[in-house]
Amino acid sequence: MNMSCSPFFRRLPPGLRDAPEQPPHAAMEEAAEWYALLISGEGDGDRAQWEAWLAANPDHRQAWRYVEAVSQRVLAPLQDTADPRLTAENLHAANVRTLRRRRVLAALALLAGAGLAGWQHVSPGGLIMAMTADYRSGTGEIREIGLSDGSRAWLNTASALNEDYQAKQRRLQLVEGEILISTAADAARPFFVDTAQGRLRALGTRFSVRQENGQSLLAVYHGAVEIRTAHSGETLVLAAGRQTRFTAENIQPPAPADPAREAWSQGNLVVLDLPLEEVAAELRRYTFQHIGVAPEIAQRRVFGAFPLRDVDVALKLLADAVHLQIRRPLPWWTTLEAAPEHASPR
């Protein structure tokens, strides 16, 4: 595969400082066709013809200058990346995702005209559900919500929640992300939280639920919560101080809940003996920036409390705590690396 930039763009005869008026459309079209032929790998025999076309008319030369400008300004930087094919594939994927969101937005605009359609009737997929959810938090945002029965809910970063309170029951639906719930007592109306994998019934309680890819994570801090999985109908009552993950089919054996986990509702990440790699992964949920960890320090153990509302401050504290240095070649690109040897360890 020929990765190099085609030589034709750098071979323009000198002295082409023509008037700035745009060349006629036909000349622009012909230039674009010549470009397509010359880079196709099949036009070698046509080189002389291309040169003749170029010489025949100043409009042709001027149109070709636009081909040249496009090639040098926007195509060459992409061709010169380490793996142009990967660059192109990722760009295409980004465009496909954007087009999908554009379609969803257009569909929503139509729905808006049809009045307030209930979310449970309109959602073909997670994206549209999250966008139309009753409560939403952005990346890096932690929100506290007072529910109408006096219960409180905290939405962690990038989360979406629907509320469906009725005469006989209180029901929340976690669409994405994580919530912490502190329920108010109401003997007449049971309190449910639904995830994609099953239904949770609160038995007087404080607990957090996290929607992960294909599974849910439940941690109970006070009281107890009953899990019922969506497909198999398996049930389990999880007591305070325990946590577990479940899919629509089954429930993993419970493990001790990490009490530090609920600290996010206060805007803190409390870490008790976790590898640096996992701490970075957790911080990544709160920011649009990329946070990379050098492999040789990924397993360093971390203890400490870090503010989630300001990830930059959290990174500085983390750097102090674990004795590492922060490299930031771009505003949204952060790499954590081992600090130089000569610096005094802490």
């Binding site: 470009y35 300004r73 990346t139």
Partner: protein
């Protein structure tokens, strides 16, 4: 606020007080982020000041419809920019650690990705792929044709089509730069 100076259509301050809070709410529900919503609402009103709707707004509903359409395109632009940035991060992340282009180089690549990305949003996906494979990856038209399952001749047609759009965008930029030599 008094809009006595604006005879035919409500002044920008009336539009602002009628619609700003609603627009921020609308954007916020879609973006899930208060700061982004405030920024985009600000952009929308700024655009209205710089380039008012051609014939003004006949009614409250018409103004809302116009603002909603504008807000939608601003949302798409914001999402697209973020998607492109994420795509570039993914590209970088999959390279060995020693590959680290300079910040300046990266800024140039990102700008190129944004420009080509925005242009390719408006062409058929197949033409976009054909163009990227040919013009960026340097694949021959036979090879691209094999991957996309169309003829090499069709591939050349796609490439020419997209290149023409790029050239027109370039011409547009050049003439703007000529009009405003400071930029």
């Amino acid at each position: 606020m008094n809009a006595a100076g604006c005879a035919s259509s409500p002044g920008i301050e009336i539009l602002y007080s009628d619609h700003h809070a609603w627009l921020v709410g609308w954007l916020r529900r879609r973006l899930g982020d208060a700061a982004d919503a405030a920024d985009l609402a600000h952009d929308a009103f700024l655009r209205l000041i710089i380039k008012p709707a051609p014939r003004g707004f006949g009614s409250f509903a018409e103004a809302r419809g116009y603002l909603r359409a504008m807000a939608q395109s601003l949302c798409i632009n914001l999402w697209h920019r973020r998607e492109i940035e994420q795509a570039w991060l993914d590209t970088l992340a999959s390279r060995p650690k020693d590959y680290a282009p300079s910040a300046e180089r990266q800024a140039i690549v990102l700008e190129a990705l944004r420009e080509i990305g925005a242009l390719l949003l408006d062409v058929p996906p197949r033409a976009a792929q054909a163009f990227l494979m040919s013009a960026v990856c340097g694949m021959g038209s036979q090879e691209v044709a094999g991957e996309l399952g169309v003829s090499a001749r069709m591939i050349r047609k796609y490439v020419a089509q997209v290149m023409l759009r790029c050239m027109q965008a370039q011409a547009c930029q050049t003439s703007m730069a000529l009009r405003d030599p400071s930029s």
